[in-house]
Amino acid sequence: MIHLYALVRGLDELPPLTGVEGAPLERRQIAGLDLVVSRTGQELTEVTNEAVMAHASVVEELTTRSRAILPVRFGRAFASEAELTAAVGTKAPALEHGLTRVRGCVEFGLRVLGHEPPRQGSATLSGAEYMRARLDEEAERHRLSEELHRPLALLSRAEARFGGASGDLLHAAYLVPEERTVAFRDRIAGLERLHPELTMVCTGPWPPYSFAETREDA
């Protein structure tokens, strides 16, 4: 099986580390694209912490050594060189487009943990008053998440917001040009000072995982 880590541009040398199952890293050129792979014995039947960390470490090391990188999602191994070649060949234009989009950028993640304003005497409210109070709360959460998100989006080339199932006030990723990373972090620090009541966790810089997916129409 062949495990694919990433597509890269401008990579001089492979990083000095091994990949999943301790296998050495190798390069492939397919349809003008530069790929980093390793061979694995059998198809992985289980996702292990070690395999995920190995994949993540390789992608991270490649990021610092490349001009552009499209991280590949963990979990799809190719049975043969032919299968890999066919798959990459089919998607080559979209992959090229994706590489151009993320060039010169890193990704930051932001989670603003759920913030429930204190509820006062809901027992004494009528049904209609209760509903109004809940609607006001929702509107306030929405307003606040927009207030946090908008200035960060302005500094970014692209942004992605993730579903609210987590209960987080804001869960997003930002694709930030390298020359703006200091400004981006300063902006986060400024928002934290403005909102000491919120717990904001900014992570990164990450390889641009959240901006690697290519659309068929890209």
Partner: protein, 72 residues
């Protein structure tokens, strides 16, 4: 939230964000993801533990804030 809880929370969120990126983001070059990561893979077990710890910390934080609010 104490400094230690805060550091712990940041560490856990970073791990969650990492695993989420590697397994759920990134480009899919062909076909379906053949691995079934949802049913009981070690990583997801670890992830659930992490997420519940984050939720616990968050509850502690809110209780602490509520206590401060009650005093003032």
């Amino acid at each position: 939230m104490s400094i230690r809880d805060e550091q712990q929370l940041r560490y856990q969120v970073t791990l969650v964000e990492l695993v989420d990126r590697v397994l759920n983001k990134g480009v899919v070059v062909a076909g379906d993801i053949t691995l079934s990561v949802a049913d009981g893979g070690l990583v997801y077990v670890g992830l659930r533990v992490l997420l519940s710890s984050v939720a616990t910390l968050e509850e502690q934080r809110e209780r602490a804030l509520a206590a401060v609010g009650a005093q003032s």
